[in-house]
Symmetry: C2
Subunit: 341 residues, 2 copies
């Protein structure tokens, strides 16, 4: 047994042509261990080793020893088959055919990556199949198996972010306090808030967050002083902002990229993410719901599946799309959404 | 100026008796910096330093230099006053009086802890005011100020967890596979699943998670072998479980405590927490919604406010209570819920 189970010619007609199990070969039908376990559990095949029949328990224990991750793949394979999909082994784990399609008739719709809830998932290991699937015009399905063998399905894909806001308005002189910035001039405060949804009005003043202040300073829309009325340039301010928030540069690079793309970017704190993002905000009287939650991460980030699950679930519960942003020469965006196959 | 602003006798009648600002002293009324900034912004008082009047901007910048966290406390004080509450300084940051009550008439209802979104919050620094508030029969209000000066309010309190499940049923012989356990006997599988909601049925078999297996093994309801059919005792199994999940002991101690309290405990993976917990599950035909999401943490855990915010928001969006569990001789439970004051 070398991780494949071989059946005779008669199986091609019985199992492949009826249900697209296995791959026809010169001398018969070849099954993966997962396919064989599935058919053995249904008494569709018998498996013998060295002349003796193996029952399901013996076969399953052996397969679990032979292949790392066998149990997870079995759970996912079984689930997808029982939902009526044709499934074939393939990179990264499976290929799934669209409803009404099958191997030999139509191309696969999904590539499937099987993930254990307990296995940390490096962002780079996710990006690779996302890009591959994109190039092949497939969708990438993530099948995350939890400790009770329940499966949650997600789709992961690259996302183009774009909004339709105009250039920002000029502001004026602002002061950096302990860890936020106050713009004191009432007219400039009103202008910046109403055209671009910058800051939070406090009385007639405007409180600006650190990323907002850095952006407006970089675009020369505000000038900045500290509490001793000494002028601060962008470099001074960035140095101070890094002291307050250790990942400020990462966060700011994403904030700037999204603003440069014409989007409105506000804190996502209430949703536990870095930003909530609007394609457009036309007036402060009618602020729409934000379309996206965006969380920033370094390129070497490692996802923990429960944290990923929580972020996506929360975004959907407030009808937003969950987008992860990471630097890679330029800023790139990865959307992850729940699938119900 | 030593972090207090002193007003004359006439202010007692004007500010204290009309609005419960400040504390009457022998020679007049004493205000905290936060109270003074609030009244100065409304032109209710004038503040002079060394004979010269300070405008709001000058006073605010000075107060922000004198007191760490002044800006956060100002934002929270202003918000609560504008909602019509009487607020006094006090441990940890403020005391808030119930609607219709005021200082001198009724006791405070809430102790308020002001937290910046950016400041990591050690669990122990949260437990201390929670206990203090509990002893004084107050509620503890957390006011978390985000980078845009929006405030999210929470209540934190100790929680007594209890359910009403009976003793579990005996199981039988199970096998530890790669990282989960399978009970092969159909009758025992049915019994354990239907009386106690253990495991997940796969065909007529039952898959048990690691914590379920450890608990049933400890209670001598199952016996366990590995894939080579060698018997595993509880210590063998715990050693293997720790290899698979580095925080297994912590998670298991909470699982066992909740099960011992008569509750039903299942994975909370879909909600991004360790467990979802039911007070009672009477039959598999009518599984109710779970009442709690429980996340375990070591006693030296440090909360990040955005993570806390996400957990509570997600729990409420699925109508569950968010409970954090940590060891402290015995397992203790901390409920955090959103407040809308």
């Amino acid at each position: 047994m070398d991780n494949r189970v071989l059946l005779g010619q008669e199986a091609v007609a019985d199992l492949y042509e009826q249900g697209y199990f296995g791959r026809p070969r010169e001398l018969g039908l070849e099954l993966s261990l997962v396919e064989a376990a599935y058919l053995l559990d249904r008494s569709r095949i018998k498996v013998s080793l060295n002349g003796a029949d193996l029952d399901f328990q013996a076969f399953f224990q052996m397969a679990s020893s032979l292949e790392i991750g066998f149990e997870f793949r079995y759970v996912v394979y079984k689930d997808l088959r029982e939902r009526g999909y044709y499934v074939q082994p393939g990179r990264p784990d499976f290929r799934v055919y669209p409803r009404g399609g099958h191997p030999g008739k139509s191309p696969a719709e999904f590539y499937v990556l099987v993930i254990s809830e307990r296995m940390p998932l490096p962002l780079q290991e996710l990006i690779e199949p996302v890009r591959l699937a994109g190039q092949m015009r497939k969708k990438l399905m993530l099948a995350i198996v939890d400790e009770e063998s329940d499966i949650t399905f997600y789709e992961a894909k690259e996302k183009a972010m774009a909004g339709s806001m105009d250039e920002q308005e000029p502001g004026g002189m602002a002061t950096l306090l302990e860890d936020r910035v106050v713009l004191w001039d009432p007219l400039a405060s009103k202008r910046l808030h109403e055209h671009g949804f910058y800051g939070k009005p406090v009385g007639e003043r405007l409180q600006l967050s650190l990323v907002e202040s850095a952006y407006l300073l970089e675009k020369k829309q505000i000038q900045l002083v500290n509490r001793a009325s000494e002028a601060l340039d962008l470099q001074d301010f960035l140095a101070r902002a890094r002291q307050i928030e250790s990942d400020f540069d990462l966060k700011y690079s994403v904030y700037r990229d999204l603003r440069d793309r014409g989007m409105v970017v506000k804190t996502g704190f209430k949703f536990g993410t870095h930003f909530r993002v609007y394609k457009q905000v036309q007036s402060m009287e009618k602020v729409p719901h934000s379309e996206y939650l965006v969380h920033t991460m370094p390129a070497d980030h490692i996802f923990l599946p429960p944290v990923l699950s929580r972020a996506v679930r929360l975004a959907h519960s407030v009808r937003k799309q969950m987008v992860f942003a990471y630097p890679d020469k330029e800023v790139r965006y990865l959307e992850i959404r729940r699938l119900k196959p």
